[in-house]
Structure formats: structure tokens, C-alpha cells
């Protein structure tokens, strides 16, 4: 379980890596794509920053950091209601035994 916290600088490192990659991409793509490098840069920005954002959302499963609105956190209200239902389910299911 410790392995999840073994690289405290990884988030910052990946962010810097992705940002610099995206920022440099117009310069790198222009010689081969010309005016169409706008489209190429758009796609690169969408996918690379999107995957990085997805990773950060996964890194905050309970949405305590609230980095993004509407991110994929657990709906704990549902989990609590499920457990509430389970707390009475077995009592009700076994209320009458057929083996008398």
C-alpha cells in the first residue's frame, strides 16, 4: 500500500512534462504541418492534458481536493444508503424460518 505514495514529486513532474510538451508543440509541428499545425496542436493539447487531468481525478477518489468539478468521485451517499439497507436486509429476510 505504501507504493501509492512512493513518488511525492511525480504529480508535479508529469504536469511540467506535459505542459512543456504542449507548449513546444506549435514550434515543432509548424515546419511539417504549416497552417494545419493548429489542428495538430489542438489534438495534442486535448489528449495529453486530458489524460493528465484524468490521472489527477483518479488520484483524488473522494474528491476532497475538489480539483475539478463533476469529477469521478465515489457517490458515497449511494454507498451509505446501500449499507443502511444491508443493515436490515438479513433481519427481514430471515424473520421467519421454514424449518420448524
Amino acid at each position: 500500500m505504501r507504493s501509492h505514495g512512493e513518488a511525492p514529486c511525480l504529480v508535479q513532474f508529469v504536469q511540467i512534462l506535459v505542459d512543456s510538451f504542449v507548449v513546444v508543440s506549435p514550434l515543432a509541428l509548424y515546419p511539417s504541418l504549416g497552417d494545419y499545425s493548429v489542428v495538430g496542436v489542438g489534438l495534442i493539447t486535448l489528449f495529453f492534458t486530458g489524460v493528465n487531468s484524468l490521472a489527477k481525478i483518479f488520484l483524488d477518489p473522494l474528491n476532497n481536493s475538489a480539483i475539478y468539478e463533476n469529477s469521478i468521485y465515489f457517490d458515497l451517499g449511494v454507498m451509505i444508503r446501500e449499507a443502511n439497507g444491508d443493515s436490515t436486509k438479513w433481519r427481514k429476510a430471515g424473520k421467519i424460518s421454514p424449518f420448524t
Partner: protein, 232 residues
């Protein structure tokens, strides 16, 4: 993309091209400006490989964390359910196969403790439900029937941090179970007791695991700054 468009305008001005026409072909590679950019591309290609590899690794690690927390959360639910199942199937019954009044009362009381434990546990882990741990939150839960007035009184006077309030109903679950065994409401043989204790301790391990996973993850401070920067 806006930055890229601005750069294209700059590149066209630097290479004496019209900024009002859309060029279907790439620029002339012999121009000094374009030749310099081609050298940047070599570095960019190296960075592309590194970025793709590191990002893939990073997403994988983050998803593993998400998955571990999700599985642990489900395990907590499962252990609570398993504990209640063991109790419901081992309580004393009447001759006609129905629960005795004492059995019904016992199952209801332990069920209520499990509900209280589960809610207070998540309140201690999430900002969204953290208000439930405050005095006002506890009183509100009592007014909605989630705990008795006696339980509220005990929780309010307890000498432990609010983040650990869930420990009390967890212990009440087992204390009430032991009491039921002494009162012959629940089968008190060693096998039943052993199975209940095992389930009880598994529950404790499952919920403690969630805290360990969340506290051991990577910090998000830099990520927040970047999001703020992008939004501005």
C-alpha cells in the same frame, strides 16, 4: 490553439508570407526560420516519447489508487453485511421459526450501530460529509433517528477527536453482541463467536486500509496551481 495561431501569424510574418491566405502545403524548409524550427522538432520528438511513457505510467498508478480505494470501500460494506448476516442466522428463534422479541430488538440495535459507524466513518474521510462529525451534525442525526439520545450524549462527551468518533459505534456492535451471547439471545458457542470476531476484525482492517491509501497518495498542490493558472 490560440497560442498556436498567434505563432503561425508570427512565423508567416518572419518568412514574408501573407497572413490572410491558408497555405495547403508546409512552408519551405530551406528558409532559415523554418530550419531552426526543424531543430526544435528533434528535441520535441524525444520529449514526446518520454511524455507518453511517463504519462501512461502515471495514469496507471493513479487508477490503481482509485481502484484500491473503491475495492476497500466495497469491502467495508461487505464486512458490515457479513456481520449482520452472521447475527441474523444465529439468533434464538421461537418454536414457529420466527425471531423472539429479544432477538428482533438485538438485531435492530446492532443494525443501528452499523449504520452509525458507516456514516461517521465516511464523515471522517470526506470533506463532503465532515459536518456530520460536528456537535450540530450529531444532534441533527439524533433528531432524524440515526442514534438514540443516550448514544448522542456519549458521543458528545467522548474524549477522542471527532475524526475517530466512528470507533465508538464499531465497539458498540461487538459489545452488544457479547451481551446478547450472555443473555442467550445469540448462540454462544466458540465457533460462532470466533466467526463474529473474525468478521469484526476484518471490518476494522478494511476501513483502516482506506485511510492508509488516501494519506499515502501523492500531493496535489502543484496540480491545483496549474488549474488555477489555466482558469485565469
Amino acid at each position: 490553439m490560440v497560442g498556436c495561431a498567434v505563432f503561425i501569424v508570427y512565423a508567416k510574418l518572419s518568412t514574408d508570407q501573407s497572413i490572410y491566405t491558408l497555405e495547403l502545403l508546409p512552408p519551405d524548409k530551406d528558409l532559415p526560420f523554418i530550419r531552426n524550427l526543424s531543430e526544435i522538432k528533434v528535441i520535441w520528438e524525444l520529449q514526446k516519447t518520454l511524455t507518453t511513457f511517463v504519462l501512461t505510467f502515471f495514469v496507471n498508478r493513479c487508477f490503481n489508487l482509485w481502484d484500491s480505494v473503491y475495492r476497500s470501500a466495497r469491502e467495508v460494506q461487505g464486512k458490515i453485511s457479513g456481520f449482520n448476516l452472521l447475527l441474523a442466522t444465529n439468533v434464538v428463534r421461537n418454536q414457529d421459526g420466527t425471531h423472539t422479541t429479544e432477538s428482533e430488538q438485538f438485531l435492530e440495535e446492532v443494525g443501528q450501530c452499523t449504520r452509525l459507524f458507516h456514516i461517521l466513518f465516511w464523515a471522517s474521510k470526506t470533506k463532503r460529509f465532515s459536518s456530520l462529525m460536528s456537535d450540530e451534525g450529531l444532534k441533527r442525526m439524533e433528531s432524524r433517528g440515526l442514534m438514540s439520545s443516550n448514544q448522542l450524549k456519549i458521543l458528545l462527551t467522548m474524549d477522542i477527536p471527532n475524526e475517530q468518533l466512528h470507533s465508538a459505534p464499531l465497539e458498540w456492535m461487538m459489545i452488544r453482541t457479547n451481551q446478547a451471547m450472555d443473555e442467550n439471545v445469540l448462540l454462544a458457542d466458540n465457533a460462532t463467536k470466533s466467526a463474529l470476531l473474525r468478521e469484526f476484525m476484518s471490518l476494522r482492517n478494511a476501513y483502516a486500509n482506506i485511510g492508509n491509501l488516501i494519506e499515502g497518495r501523492m500531493p496535489l498542490a502543484y496540480g491545483k496551481i496549474i488549474v488555477l493558472y489555466l482558469q485565469v
